[in-house]
């Protein structure tokens, strides 16, 4: 998905829509294929935005549940399945954060801890870098973080991000530019720690 060309994206959407129609007719194989195609993508975005694996899994399951319920009413050709699902995931992430703030718990301030024991020694540096990126992402305002994740990690085009976030393309450009500047600033002080001192 990340490196897909426009016609590949449209082919994928067509396949998603066909699978969704088959799901609505009761085909269990369609459910398995849609889960395999869409659940990891939803999880990856939710994990980057929330910075918490358990919450990202909850959001993914709920988003997929909404897709199953939507299947019989899906109007083919009106929206891309993946775009629709990204929007649901983003809204669920916002709702979750809002509820947590209501309960006086700001998990933005508590990034997912890095577990070096899970990685082989040769990938330790990479794990550190990913941890640092996630910590930096978590310091961005929520909408900036969403826009940066969708643009630079999911590699979605700006018009699609605008559709997902329900804002203008100009607003997306502004959010991603500011987000990227902030990330660079946050990470600038950690170059040596992250093994970039020789760059």
């Amino acid at each position: 998905m990340a490196n897909a060309r426009p016609h590949d994206i449209s082919a994928q959407n067509l396949e998603d829509e066909v699978l969704l129609a088959r799901f609505a007719r009761g085909d269990p194989e369609a459910a398995a294929q849609l889960t395999e195609r869409l659940a990891p993508q939803s999880f990856a975005v939710a994990l980057r935005v929330l910075g918490n694996r358990a919450e990202a899994e909850d959001v993914t399951q709920e988003a997929m549940m909404r897709l199953w319920r939507q299947a019989p009413n899906w109007r083919r050709g009106e929206a891309k399945v993946s775009t629709w699902l990204y929007r649901v995931v983003m809204n669920l992430c916002i709702d979750l954060k809002r509820r947590q703030r209501g309960g006086h718990l700001d998990l933005d301030a508590i990034p997912e801890p890095i577990d070096p024991a899970r990685s082989a020694p040769e990938t330790l540096q990479e794990t550190r870098r990913m941890g640092a990126l996630q910590e930096a992402l978590m310091q961005l305002p929520e909408r900036q973080r969403q826009a940066v994740v969708l643009r630079h990690i999911e590699e979605l085009p700006n018009p699609e991000i605008a559709g997902i976030m329900e804002i203008s393309v100009e607003a997306v450009e502004s959010l991603t530019a500011r987000g990227k500047r902030s990330l660079a600033k946050i990470l600038a002080g950690r170059q040596e720690e992250l093994g970039y001192s020789d760059v």
Partner: protein, 133 residues
Amino acid sequence: MSDHDNSIEELETLFAAARQAKERPSDEVIAAIMVDAAAVQSRAKDSAAKDRPLPGITRGFYTLAQQFANAIGGWPAFGGLVTAGIAGLWVGLFPPSFLPDPVAQYYEITNENDVLAYNELDPAAWLGDEVEQ
């Protein structure tokens, strides 16, 4: 190269690494999603079966019964009518002791002696007696 350019370049490297290092949800979550999917499909199937039209003859009978029930005041009234019908049949077949037993009377009148007794009755003589009086 300025510090800013370095930082942006490092950031691009980090984004590229993040794209490669995408994590997957656990097998438990994938299994839970599949269970949800099966439940939604099962509910949709049940709902479709409920909404499916009845076969012609059943549908015709049902429509007629519905119209009749509506005419007498709905299905509760229809239930009352059926109960009253069953109660009447019960009393007819097994009457209480102070009521005549229609079943016993029917068998009495078809008894051969009773039929002969009726045949031997002479209406003319009977009427004649009345005239003389």
